[in-house]
């Protein structure tokens, strides 16, 4: 593996070569495993250094606010914080006990402890594996060769082991090997499945690699010289040439099996056959080159590219991931859209981006550490209320926490947790796994969000509203079926105030105000509507599509022992789950 014409590169190579286990990422068939070289160290020893980083970040941002006369909002209270950070780190809501314990905890470092607990939870790995699965493979992948399940499991293992970001990116960029297991025992390399998404087009591979790992939309230059930047079409072609020397070999026997069809991805020493004729013309004569003009080893361009990307001198790699994670947590990146770094799209608070990127590189490209740093900054802890609303078009500088819709994964997890839907389904003898799979598919489709850009206006669909208002999942979840949260709540708490508080803690992760107590007590005690099962149209009048929970919903509606009070609590639960305070992360 050589990076030509780059003395710095040669030094990097020499250093990396001295560390055992490094070439394993590029070797055929390896899964990125939890070797010491691959995993980033956990917090304790570096805690004070990290505290310093957080403090420096806070100072820098306060400086930006002072410069622009921006008045930050007040700090968010504890209830707001625990809900916000649990959604952002673990993709779900805290439960009632966790909220109460956090509110009652008086230790000064309780937020840091909470963050650490969340980072150590299995939910963290699952949530972030889902996130990267979506970023890398996307929602609508129809590809008979991609082993989606294997890829997702591989991602989850990596996040459980807190794999270093530079190793993970390298593994994806350089992956060779089989995409899926075979009978003859050849170990697959799950990372290969990302390459297979773009295997037909080196241009698409290059464009997405650049966008995802470097935050650079080089693919604008695929069809014409970039309109605003200096990249020419030839620059794009040189970058795309990096991915043209890798071919996919089908396993002919495996074609008789159901998908995913087994293939082997290998690097070869020339442009691979099978590309479009007009592309072959320039690919055969174009030397693979990095975005900043360095030639890459023609024999192993992807490996050379991975080393260039992950070297400490690379101006984009660390900044891109830091920007993405900052945007994820704070609602808007330093650079917006997050994958559009270019001179004419300057960063807000560039010194802060630089600080965090340098810290990231200096500390083993540790994603958990990055999350911890961001989650403990002052900006992340601000309220979403108050603070000056800057005139439209001006930079907001994160002076107020943003309202953003929960993504499909967090939303479904939160609904499920708040309602104990899983328990209700299990107790009704339905196939929980089937229900979960159906709901996941449905929610991924219906509630898909575009996170790459910060938008001021709410973006939502009628289908989303209908789902939350009328779906069997919400109806079942808010019912008094055995196992459902409400039935347990009504059985164990007899005082209305306690019940109201419990519902608030389950959904909004906070206690109700006195006004809210009064409102809901009145609502419960004075039901305006009596059940009119004989008059109301509780059976659908139109043909309805199949829904895995339809049977359960009907059962829920006809629950024995239902009375005005239970129905009023169902109504309250429904309102809380449909509320914006529930739906938005704030």
């Amino acid at each position: 593996m050589k990076i030509l014409r780059s003395p710095i590169g040669a030094v990097v190579v020499a250093l990396l070569a001295a560390v055992p286990g490094v070439p394993a990422c590029a070797r055929n068939g390896s899964v990125t495993s939890a070797t010491p070289e691959n995993t980033a160290s956990s917090p304790p020893r570096t805690e004070s250094a990290q505290t310093q980083t957080v403090a420096a970040a806070n100072r820098l941002l306060r400086g930006e606010w002072a410069k622009t006369g921006t008045q930050p909002a007040a700090p968010a209270d504890d209830a707001t914080f625990i809900r916000r950070v649990t959604i952002d780190i673990a993709g779900t809501l805290p439960d009632e006990e966790q909220v109460r314990a956090f509110l009652n905890d008086s230790s000064p470092d309780k937020r840091a402890k909470l963050v650490d607990t969340l980072l150590a939870s299995p939910a963290y790995a699952e949530f972030w594996a889902d996130y990267w699965d979506d970023v890398l493979l996307g929602n609508d992948l129809q590809n008979a060769r991609v082993d989606r399940q294997l890829f997702r499991r591989w991602l989850r293992t990596n996040f459980e082991n807190n794999v270093r970001w530079d190793r993970l990116a390298s593994a994806l960029i350089t992956a060779t090997g089989d995409n899926t297991p075979s009978e003859n025992g050849v170990e697959p390399n799950p990372a290969v499945n990302w390459f297979l998404k773009y295997s037909d087009s080196p241009q698409d591979m290059a464009g997405n690699a650049s966008r995802i790992f470097l935050g650079v939309q080089i693919q604008c230059a695929q069809c014409h010289d970039h309109k605003t930047e200096t990249w020419k079409q030839t620059d794009f072609q040189k970058f795309a040439a990096t991915f043209a020397r890798t071919k996919v070999v089908n396993d002919e026997r495996a074609k008789m099996q159901p998908p995913p069809f087994r293939v082997t991805v290998t690097d070869i020493d020339r442009v691979r056959p099978g590309l479009l004729k007009e592309d072959m013309a320039w690919l055969s004569t174009t030397a693979p080159t990095t975005l900043d003009g360095r030639l890459l080893d023609k024999k192993q361009p992807r490996a050379a590219l991975a080393q260039w990307m992950t070297s400490k001198e690379n101006p984009w790699f660390a900044a891109a991931i830091v920007n993405r994670m900052w945007a994820r947590f704070l609602g808007r990146g330093f650079v917006d859209p997050i994958d559009d770094f270019r001179p004419s799209n300057g960063a807000d608070a560039p010194a802060l981006l630089h600080l965090l990127a340098e810290d990231f590189k200096a500390n083993g490209y540790d994603l958990k550490r990055l999350v911890r740093t961001i989650a403990l900054t002052e900006a992340y802890g601000l309220s979403s209320s108050g603070g000056a609303e800057p005139p439209a078009g001006e930079r907001k500088l994160w002076s107020r926490f943003r309202l953003q819709p929960m993504g499909p994964t967090e939303l479904l997890h939160s609904l499920t947790k708040a309602t104990a839907l899983d328990a209700a389904v299990r107790q009704s003898q339905l196939d929980l796994e089937r229900v979960q799979t159906e709901l996941t598919k449905q929610y991924n489709f219906t509630f898909d969000t575009d996170e790459s850009i910060d938008r001021d206006a709410f973006q939502g669909t009628v289908a989303q509203a209908l789902t939350l208002m009328n779906s069997a999942a919400v109806a079942t979840g808010t019912s008094t079926l055995p196992g459902a949260a409400l039935s347990h709540l009504l059985a164990t708490k007899t005082d209305d105030n306690e019940r109201i508080a419990a519902l608030y803690l389950r959904t909004l992760s906070r206690l109700p105000t006195p006004d809210e107590h009064a409102y809901w007590k009145n609502f419960i005690e004075h039901p305006a509507t009596r059940a009119r099962a004989s008059l109301g149209k509780s059976e659908p009048t139109h043909a309805r599509a199949a829904d895995p929970l339809r049977k359960l919903e009907t059962k829920a509606a006809g629950q024995r022992g239902a009375n005005d009070t239970t129905r009023a609590y169902e109504d309250m639960f429904w309102a809380l789950l449909n509320s914006s305070e529930f739906f938005f992360n704030h």
Partner: protein
């Protein structure tokens, strides 16, 4: 691009809550006014896309070459249009041959399904730097009535493509099983109208309180979406999605298939002036057994599309409803080793009808062996530009993406002269 300002949501708690449907007006009245202006002078008031997913074989459908090496076993039949002959497996469409035209010189460079589907729906090859809107998305944004109880863009039996950077609110409402209601449009079991209103009153109270506390315009934006959803739930016009009250003879004429039912729903939605409806017929990717599989598909297409054309005309809606029928590419004239045809974007056919276009016209032609096109081919932007102009849209109208990039409705297309 529409932005909700603070002034608007402060203006009325009732409108925020969406309780009083008549009071809730979309903030940007200028959108509606412009849409009305456009529609006044347009020949087509709405569009229906019959989407043949998988890439239908042109030689076996709309561009027959009987008796040639590549022609395959199907014969060609005359249609009501003097110049047009089509496959023997499309007899009902032949009967309405004087109501449609064919574009036989479609040509693209995209032979990959996903890329080609994107190209045909949006007019652009997929590009990670821009989320191009589908034609349906453009129609929703430029011609949709935001105050209508029904969605502006509906997709039946298939997912279509969303509205990209124009926003999710202009994407399609998808009905997987045509003939049934959109998902979750009916109240949950055990909830009648009164109970639902009571729930919404409680929800409004939560919303009012949270909006006051945060002052964020997104809450009002969300309330408006909810109000629109409730209008859809309550309007009797939503019955257009349900075909239960259609006479059995009518349902039989469209065909007992999801596609057939989709075409019938499309007619009903056209009657309700829904601006853009897509109906998908999948299965055209016939790499194997092309000659066994395509007749089955063609029968469905034949029944559904011919019935749609006839019934729209009977209701005096054909002249104002543009119909496009196509897939993502054609199929190889050369028959392969498994009696199939493979992807062939170089030369294929699209059908166009209604919406004021000239019928009975054949645009372009392929060589006798089907391999090449004589003269200048029709590119996808040209076809979409044709549709845009009929609908009263400027094909070169640009919108700024949120990142500030101007994106044009068509990628430089020119409307097909012979069709206007």
């Amino acid at each position: 691009m529409n932005r909700f300002g603070r002034r608007q949501w402060l203006g009325g708690a009732a409108s925020l809550l969406g309780l009083c449907a008549a009071d809730v007006l979309w903030p940007s009245l200028s959108f509606a006014a412009d849409a009305d202006e456009r529609r006044k002078s347009a020949k087509a008031q709405r569009c229906i896309l019959i989407w043949l997913n998988g890439g239908p074989s042109q030689i076996d459908t709309f561009d027959p070459k009987p008796g040639t090496v590549n022609g395959g076993p199907f014969r060609a039949i005359k249609t009501r249009a003097p110049k047009i002959q089509i496959s023997e497996h499309l007899p009902r469409l032949a009967e309405v041959g004087d109501r449609f035209s064919l574009v036989r010189n479609m040509s693209t460079k995209e032979g990959n399904h996903i890329r080609a589907q994107h190209l045909l729906h949006t007019g652009y090859a997929p590009n990670p730097t821009v989320q191009h809107p589908s034609l349906g998305g453009w129609v929703s944004a430029r011609l949709g009535d935001p105050n209508s109880e029904l969605p502006a863009f509906v997709s039946l039996a298939g997912p279509s493509f969303d509205a990209g950077f124009l926003g999710v609110q202009h994407g399609p409402m998808i009905v997987r099983t045509p003939g049934t209601m959109p998902s979750h449009i009916d109240l949950a079991a055990g909830v009648d109208g009164d109970r639902f209103d009571r729930r919404r009153a409680a929800l409004s109270e939560l919303e009012r309180s949270f909006a006051t506390q945060t002052g964020d315009a997104k809450i009002d934006g969300r309330a408006k979406v909810y109000a629109k959803a409730v209008r859809l739930m309550k309007t009797p016009r939503s019955g257009a999605f349900d075909i239960a009250d259609e006479p059995s003879a009518v349902r039989a004429a469209y065909g007992d298939s999801p596609f057939g039912r989709g075409c019938l729903v499309a007619r009903r939605l056209a009657e309700q002036d829904v601006r853009y409806v897509e109906v998908t017929l999948d299965g055209w990717d016939t790499h194997n057994d092309n000659f066994k599989r395509t007749p089955v598909l063609m029968e469905k297409l034949d029944m559904g599309l011919s019935s749609l054309i006839r019934e729209l005309e009977a209701r005096h809606l054909l002249a104002s409803t543009l119909i496009l029928c196509m897939g993502e590419f054609g199929r190889t004239p050369k028959i392969n080793a498994t009696e199939g045809r493979d992807h062939f974007p170089q030369a294929w056919s699209a059908l166009i009808a209604g919406g004021g276009i000239r019928a009975g016209v054949v645009v372009g032609e392929t060589s006798p062996d089907g391999m090449t096109i004589a003269g200048k081919p029709t590119a996808v932007p040209d076809l979409l530009a044709t549709a845009a102009v009929q609908l009263g849209l400027n094909p070169h109208h640009t919108e700024l993406t949120p990142a500030g990039r101007p994106i044009s409705l068509t990628d430089g297309g020119t409307p097909i002269a012979q069709l206007s």
